[in-house]
Symmetry: C2
Subunit: 193 residues, 2 copies
């Protein structure tokens, strides 16, 4: 492989697609941990927001609190009509499903898009999704987890994120070989232990 | 980067570490979906087994059923004494935590091991783990999900798996641009729709 000059690399990274996530079929009454993990993983690995159908006010508030502490602009956006979102989406809709084409085959095309909407299928995905999506993509073709599928897709697109804090973070992890270190940002933007 | 000859590539892949997973602090009474997702993701992305503390017979049986249908030798192994498992482990124990060293920094050392035990921390990980582990590793340094951490670590180690069925599978996905196709293996090992 040719090594990109730093100039072209910078250009490529400026063009990276904006990635959003749609979670269909969330059950607010049941255990919210799975959707919480999905939202946190999406945020941590570089998604801009998660559309949530049906809406769940508590979950959105919990994720907002994470964004206040840890920074960035990730938000949970309630969605009453997921079908319209998918149909009218101004970019490529990528339905993550173990039945789809291999991620490696679709990834080069995904990189060329300006906006991607990943749709995290659960067990009971409406079958219309297969038709409405631009691409149906398998992150592996074994039964596994939408949390894993979203995280691995984002890591393949953007790489595994480093320790740099998100914009406007109030706290950040300083990586350690043992134990935990979380620094706080005080008045004036200075970080301290 | 130099391109490896196919000979050396084969040699490298023969030497890939065996990866196992330890899940500590599972709560069988509560919603089992999160641990199920963790086990399925571990299996799908190439782990050999998941040690589960405390044991959960129902979950182990469900995962066994997946392995019968979809092949491979992944099993859920009940564990009463996770501390002894970690202490006596004949390989490198890798505690996945957002507070640890960046994955990219540790990955080259992980690849040189023969056996790796990933420990999937939840919110309430015993603090001894930080001391007992060979490495504390952050897959990103934002709050996210142990399902994501395990899947991304395995994908970084082994790549995203293709569509080849696992050994002794009774059914397999044949990737499609639209819809689902699952082939069955009949008598004599022949695959059919």
């Amino acid at each position: 492989m040719a090594t990109a000059s730093s100039g072209s690399r910078r250009k490529a990274s400026r063009r990276r697609p904006e990635v959003e996530l749609l979670r269909v079929g969330h059950r607010a009454g049941r255990d919210p941990r799975l959707t919480t993990h999905l939202a946190l993983a999406a945020r941590a690995f570089g998604a801009a927001r998660m559309y949530l159908h049906p809406p769940d006010r508590d979950l959105a508030a919990r994720l907002d609190a994470v964004a206040v502490r840890w920074g960035g602009s990730f938000r949970v956006v309630p969605t009453d009509d997921w079908k319209r979102l998918v149909r009218d989406y101004p970019g490529a809709v990528v339905h993550l499903t173990m039945y789809g084409e291999p991620l490696a085959a679709v990834l080069p095309r995904m990189r060329r898009e300006r906006r991607l909407l990943l749709v995290a299928g659960g067990a009971k995905v409406p079958s219309e999704l297969y038709r409405l999506a631009r691409w149906n993509v398998g992150v592996g073709h074994q039964p596994h987890s939408e949390v894993a599928a979203v995280a691995v897709t984002l890591a393949e697109l953007f790489g595994v994120p480093g320790a740099r804090p998100f914009p406007r973070a109030r706290q950040r992890v300083v990586p350690q070989t043992r134990g935990k270190r979380v620094d706080q940002r005080g008045e004036g933007g200075r970080w301290s232990r």
